[in-house]
């Protein structure tokens, strides 16, 4: 093979060098004649490339006294993108002097992308994100404190419990506007046939009742529930608020300590028992994301799947014809239906020279009727009380009403303002909870890891 290659190449070279090196003059003329069309082609290609590239270079802002704001949106589903773009268009039509440029971001990579933009001084003016991603940016001084910019209407319309989600060190660094509770999405036909009591927001299941019912529904290779716990920490902490679980306790000195008390152990204990003792929850879904459990749910393998409220959109799109599903509230504990959420937020970059105008745009975007459009596009709930009253969000179609009834019980996710939480989550809590749920470690070991290892991590951030 190698020899054949050498021969081929050798022959080719031999011919070329032989021709070119006949005489100097001959070579030059020969070369010119041969390369002229190629050179022209290359020159034309280079010119075309240059023109294309020049055409693609960045533009300028604030020309002719007109302000141009950049709004980076993370909307990704078609309805949501359409709603955002329509609202930007409406704003631009009504405000010729303050134009908004829609910039598309992505949930998957927003943190790194924003961090780089902030460091480089090129961040968008208006930033769409989630409250649990804001802490680093707020403490780092990249986001504007909105307290003096917020209009009274917005301040009073959004409840304090929602403002708490975007408050860091007394500053408000984002306007929380969309949120979603974790709910149980159930196979309605299966539940009806089993004769179990169907829970409502007024009379939800308790955690022990939920455990008992999932056991009743299980058997013959079928499970009462499938917990998609690929990311177990936020699901566990947020649902544990219903039983009074806090995990993170802030002392008088402002420092946070981790505890794992009895109230914190109800939800994880229930899940572990369902998977390992009762066999009423599938162990194979513990490592899955929410979407991964849907084929099994549609195929009649699981009676219920705890998912975010917005998953209804996927269910509507993917459920087989005639599949009857319904939304149920998550189980309640000593604190009722309370659960933690990290709402979507709109923030303003500290470096933005047009903070006032940016807030005016946010105010327009979050007018109740506009918030409803955004909420419908994302299949989520608005935080604003006026928007929540909209009849479109109280309809039984796709169980909007069930979710809306839970809005009053949503609180700030317990961990999001804690510095060091991401490291604790990734290095300590995620592996510990995964091992606990799969039955590899017991409650004492889980507690030891979450508390002892966890406090060592937090201590480094609180010196």
């Amino acid at each position: 093979m190698g020899a054949r290659l050498r021969t081929r190449t050798g022959t080719r070279i031999g011919t070329r060098t032989g021709t070119r090196t006949g005489t100097r003059t001959g070579t030059r003329i020969g070369t010119r004649t041969r390369t002229r069309p190629r050179a022209r082609l290359l020159a034309a290609a280079a010119t075309a490339l240059g023109l294309l590239l020049t055409g693609c270079s960045g533009g300028s802002e604030d020309t002719d006294g007109r302000i141009t704001l950049q709004f980076q949106s993370l909307a990704w589903q078609k309805e949501s993108v359409d709603a955002n773009k329509e609202l930007v268009k409406e704003w631009n039509a009504a405000h010729p002097d303050v134009q908004v440029k829609y910039v598309q971001g992505s949930w998957d990579s927003v943190h790194d992308q924003l961090l780089t933009s902030f460091e480089g001084g090129e961040a968008p003016d208006i930033i769409h994100d989630a409250s649990d991603d804001l802490a680093d940016f707020a403490y780092g001084g990249y986001l504007a404190d909105l307290r003096k910019l917020l209009p009274e209407r917005m301040k009073s319309d959004i409840p304090q419990r929602s403002w708490d989600t975007a408050t860091f060190d007394k500053g408000v660094y984002g306007v929380p506007f969309l949120q979603e509770p974790r709910v149980l999405i159930a196979n309605a036909k299966w539940l009806k046939k089993s004769g179990v009591r169907i829970p409502t927001a007024e009379k939800p299941w308790t955690w022990p009742e939920f455990r008992k019912i999932t056991k009743e529904l299980s058997g013959d290779g079928k499970y009462g529930v499938a917990w998609p716990l690929k990311e177990p920490v936020s699901a566990t902490l947020n649902l544990s608020l219903s039983t009074g679980g806090q995990v993170f306790h802030r002392g008088a000195d402002g420092k946070v300590k981790i505890r794992f008390d009895a109230a914190d152990q109800v939800v994880p204990g229930t899940v572990r028992a369902q998977v390992n003792s009762d066999r009423s929850a599938s162990s194979s879904t513990l490592g899955m994301g929410g979407s991964d459990t849907l084929p099994g749910f549609f195929g009649g393998k699981y009676a219920m799947v705890p998912l975010g409220f917005s998953y209804r959109q996927q269910i509507v799109q993917q459920a087989p014809d005639g599949f009857d599903w319904q939304v149920l509230p998550a189980p309640a504990g000593a604190e009722g239906l309370t659960q933690g959420v990290s709402p979507q937020t709109l923030s303003i970059a500290e470096d933005s020279p047009h903070k006032k105008e940016a807030m005016e745009f946010i105010d327009f975007l979050l007018q109740p009727e506009n918030t409803v459009r955004l909420a419908q596009g994302d299949w989520m709930l608005p935080t604003g009380t006026e928007a929540l009253k909209d009849p479109a969000l109280h309809t039984d179609k796709n169980d909007w009403a069930t979710g809306t009834a839970l809005a009053a019980h949503l609180r700030s996710a317990p961990a999001q303002s804690v510095r060091g939480y991401p490291e604790w989550k990734d290095k300590v809590a995620t592996p510990a909870l995964q091992e606990y749920y799969s039955g590899a470690i017991d409650a004492a070991e889980l507690r030891k890891r979450l508390v002892e290892d966890g406090n060592l991590v937090l201590a480094r951030y609180q010196r």
Binding site: T17, T21, Q70, Q77, S117, Q317
Partner: protein, 278 residues
């Protein structure tokens, strides 16, 4: 003896077939998913062949995202990066291969070390440099980054190819009166063609697939490249719009496949040429 050879050969073919299946599986599944209707994607018992094949995912992908524009951008960026990287790397490789002094050794060391830097370590300084050059949110800026990023490995590849070319040929050209540049252009470069093509392919694929730099450096949708646009089919908590994502990802692989198919022989030649010691 003969039987042993036959059974060994059969085992080799089985292993090769298994490896090909292993390599082809994700791509075959991607194609299957791209043509499945949404409801079939949620089936508990998925099939290889879509029961009710549809082009809806492609239609939706084109409707929701500027795929054509993104493909044009990606092609422009990847082809430019590959061309520039090769044009710069070829003479450098020639010098490094033919002049084995301390400087060449240091350069080789630099090439190896430069591969060790993760993206996140350099992205912020890089962003600031490009900002000062007014090359943020511009394709030329991204091309520059890709050239720099591909250059060390391209150089390392080409040095191997240059070393495989017998220096006697260059000496013969020199005796005939050719200068260094002339020798490189007329003697060494034609021999290096397969290696140059293989290196260009490497630079092309690196730029075509790259996501993070493009994400950070390009802001406006009309300038974004294909990997960034594909990422938009993924939403909160990693939820993906699976059908359109598969359709768009399938389309994204086509240019690479076409280019590979067209220059496959040259690449194979180039790979082997680099491997043979004279």
């Amino acid at each position: 003896m003969m039987r042993t050879k036959k059974s060994a050969r059969a085992a080799q073919y089985v292993a090769l077939a298994a490896y090909l299946v292993f390599l082809a599986f994700p791509f075959a599944w991607l194609i299957s998913t791209a043509f499945k209707p949404t409801k079939e994607l949620g089936s508990l018992h998925p099939t290889w062949i879509p029961k009710d094949p549809t082009l809806d995912n492609f239609r939706q992908a084109f409707e929701e995202q500027p795929l054509l524009q993104a493909m044009t951008n990606s092609l422009l960026v990847a082809v430019s990066a590959a061309l520039v990287a090769v044009v710069i790397a070829t003479p450098m490789a020639f010098v490094m291969a033919r002049h084995r002094n301390r400087l060449a050794k240091a350069a080789t060391g630099w090439v190896v070390i430069s591969q060790a830097f993760p993206f996140v370590l350099i992205i912020i300084p890089l962003f600031l440099i490009l900002k000062n050059l007014h090359l943020i949110n511009s394709l030329p800026g991204l091309i520059m980054v890709y050239v720099v990023w591909a250059l060390p490995f391209a150089l390392w590849m080409l040095v191997g190819y240059v070393r495989a070319v017998p220096p006697e040929l260059e000496e013969a050209a020199s005796v005939d009166g050719a200068g260094k540049i002339r020798t490189l252009v007329s003697v060494t470069a034609p021999l290096l063609a397969p290696g140059i093509v293989a290196t260009a392919m490497f630079a092309f694929i690196t730029a075509w697939n790259e996501f993070f730099f493009a994400l950070v450096l390009l802001k406006t949708p009309e300038k974004q490249t294909l990997p960034v646009i594909l990422n938009r089919f993924i939403g909160t908590e990693g939820v993906a719009d699976l059908g359109p994502l598969a359709a768009a990802a399938f389309l994204a692989t086509i240019p690479s496949l076409v280019i590979f198919a067209l220059i496959q022989k040259r690449i194979t030649g180039g790979m082997l040429a680099g491997a043979v010691k004279h």
